[in-house]
């Protein structure tokens, strides 16, 4: 079944042929087509329900879009140079990344996945701290409380439940916090996705579930994950509204996610937003995308690039000047330079740190094992000082 067929089913379900659902239930259904405010050619595409964000807001977010693309390109280059172990790129999905970060206020929380590095950096976390995970220096390089960004989740959908818990805590504390929880299309097949949406709806907590549907879970296309009319249609099953948005349209993303965040903050409860986008590159550098999709498929999405259309739109409105373009490029270059310099600097890792943080206090077993490792390190150091190979010496004993 193609995506087009899925959409066709969606239209029928939303129409009279689908029966006569109550008005309340009907209001939970997503738009028949993804919301779009600026089309791929850069023309405005007005929508009565979602006003276009104002020029300043768009321009600021566009600057972050430029930086986001640069971060993806720089990280990919550093993988090729062996400075990063792996990088799941969000190339092509930068509008989703930027929008997810900028629709939140300081008091809000973001729950990202491994592909959401650009969103985390856009939220304000130090790029080098973010890339600690993918560099292999530690499992997470930043304190989640500092910018209210959870660690980037590697398993799929587990973080959605944590987001529900943070939102529930906010409700208990009487805070106005909204939690935006990100996942991909593949993650919607996980049990934790289902449980998170159900818990959030039953507890009526302020979570926006943001699914970036980039059409592939590594190699498996969406049609093998679900035969639902759309991922946003899943929301009605939990009694929350779902909405679909063009995931390469920065303006539409800001409007739709912004409305969902406002709704959550105003006590309206959780909602689900599905962004239709495309993973332009392989899953990671270790993946070979030519085995499961054609160059033509990818080419079709080049024309829908999020930067191209927003640049055209902003230039048409005379909002984007030569100077501001240069300033955005310089800003993106500066971020890339920080990443390059940081990752080209060797970081001293401390082997005995392996035993820290397992518990809040080391157990006697861990103290013994740490002593064993310290002993090995001392022997290696002695051997190095004596000009012999410590491990060889060990083998000869």
């Amino acid at each position: 079944m193609s995506t087009a067929t899925n959409e066709g089913r969606g239209r029928r379900m939303g129409g009279a042929a689908g029966g006569t659902p109550s008005t309340a239930a009907h209001a939970l259904l997503p738009s028949p087509e993804p919301v779009q405010l600026v089309d791929p050619e850069g023309h405005p595409h007005p929508d009565d329900r979602y006003p276009l964000p104002d020029g300043d807001r768009l321009l600021g977010a566009y600057g972050r879009l430029i930086a986001g693309r640069r971060i993806n390109d720089q990280a990919n280059a550093l993988v090729r140079q062996g400075r990063l172990a792996v990088y799941p790129s969000s190339h092509g999905q930068e509008a989703c990344q930027v929008a997810a970060a900028v629709v939140l206020g300081d008091e809000d929380w973001l729950f990202p996945t491994y592909r959401d590095t650009v969103a985390v950096i856009t939220r304000g976390v130090d790029p080098l701290e973010v890339l600690t995970l993918l560099r292999g220096d530690w499992h997470a390089g930043y304190d989640p409380h500092e910018h209210r960004v959870a660690t980037q989740a590697t398993p799929l959908a587990t973080q959605l439940l944590h987001a529900v818990g943070v939102a529930h805590a906010a409700k208990l504390r009487g805070e106005s916090t909204v939690v935006l929880a990100m996942c991909g299309d593949g993650a919607t097949s996980e049990g934790d996705f289902h449980e998170a949406l159900n818990f959030a709806a039953v507890f009526h907590v302020p979570v926006v579930f943001f699914v970036q549907n980039n059409e592939f879970a590594i190699s498996v296309p969406l049609k093998n994950q679900t035969v639902a009319p759309s991922l946003a249609h899943k929301a009605i099953g939990y009694g929350m509204p779902g909405e679909r948005v063009d995931g390469n349209d920065l303006a539409a993303l800001l409007a739709v996610l912004g409305a969902a965040v406002d709704r959550a903050r105003d006590g309206g409860g959780p909602s689900l937003v599905e962004a239709h986008t495309y993973r332009m590159q392989a899953h990671t550098n270790a993946d070979d995308a030519t085995r499961y999709r054609s160059a033509d498929d990818v080419e079709r999405w080049v024309l829908k690039d999020p930067i191209l259309r927003m640049r055209t739109y902003l230039k048409t409105l005379d909002l984007l000047t030569e100077e501001s373009e240069q300033a955005f490029a310089a800003d993106a270059d500066a971020t890339a330079a920080v990443i390059r310099k940081g990752l080209n600097t060797e970081v001293e890792v401390n082997p005995t740190e392996l035993f820290e943080y397992v518990y809040t206090e080391k157990t006697s077993q861990l103290r013994e094992q740490a002593a064993l490792l310290r002993e090995e390190l001392a022997r290696d150091a002695d051997a190095a000082a004596a000009g012999t190979d410590g491990s060889m010496e060990g083998d000869q004993r």
Partner: protein
Amino acid sequence: MSTMTFGRAINAGLRRAMDNDPKVVLMGEDIGKLGGVFRITDGLQKDFGPHRVLDSPLAEAGIMGTAVGMAYRGYRPVVEIQFDGFIYPAFDQIVCQVAKLHYRTQGAVKMPITIRVPFGGGIGSPEHHSESPEAYFTHTSGLRVVSVSNPQDAYTMIQQAIASDDPVLYFEPKRRYHVKGEVDEAADPASSDMGAARVVTEGTDVTLVTYGPLVPTARDAAVAASDDGTSIEVIDLRSLAPIDFATVEASVRKTGRLVVTHEAAQSGGLGAEIAASITERCFDYLEHAPVRITGFDIPYPYSKLEFHHLPDLDRILDGVDRVMRRPNSLSGLEGAPTPQGAAQ
């Protein structure tokens, strides 16, 4: 001092923890109006309100993952898993998230979550209601695992578990819920350590290590053995991760013999870990190889046959006979350890 049942002691401990810290929140299935299927949370929702005693949708991973998020924001969730056999849907959240978030974030995010699990058999229940899954969790770094054996420990250790900044699995022997005992409700939980094992009865011939539901059985075995002139030192481990090996070692250095007993299956179980560790640490003191008296390596049996599976007093004493090199049920079997006299 007051006399109360095991179950009531946990309830009293929960109540005291909730009184002392507004961040203590209970979550689980049927724990509100019903007070839990074992009534352990009886009356707590009425007294503390539905926000602090939360009846959740019926999904264990959902409960556990939500608890993780609440811990992110400074709460101390106490999660009730209804029965041992229903913990597995939450397994991923427990071992990949609860256990690792403190490590993953270099200590920035603490996970002070207590997971209460009624465990073990002997109550005549259908499948999935009588399991002993503790070894799955003791094998996971980052988790503390305790099991309580008497009302006083139940009362004190639930408070210690909740006060711990590490996640704690708190295994409750459900077949002992109705056992009564003295509880000092004024006892200060901070004055003792839930990580320390306890010598239940002192002895000189054999060290008998156990925890949870088998502690009373082991104590009875010690009494029975003393009639035959064998002096057994019974140790209640209390903490299964980490294990207080110092207490076990000191005992084995004195007795030279070790029997470990638990309801859980033998292969890869805690008995194996204790036997191996004690052999490594006390080899020169041992008069006989450590012996494990455990449940069989079978799925938990149907209730009519469960008492053939569960270690009882006779099977524990048979293990004692083995380490004492006396005739025992394995005597005469090919490859069996030789009885005293034939050795050396």
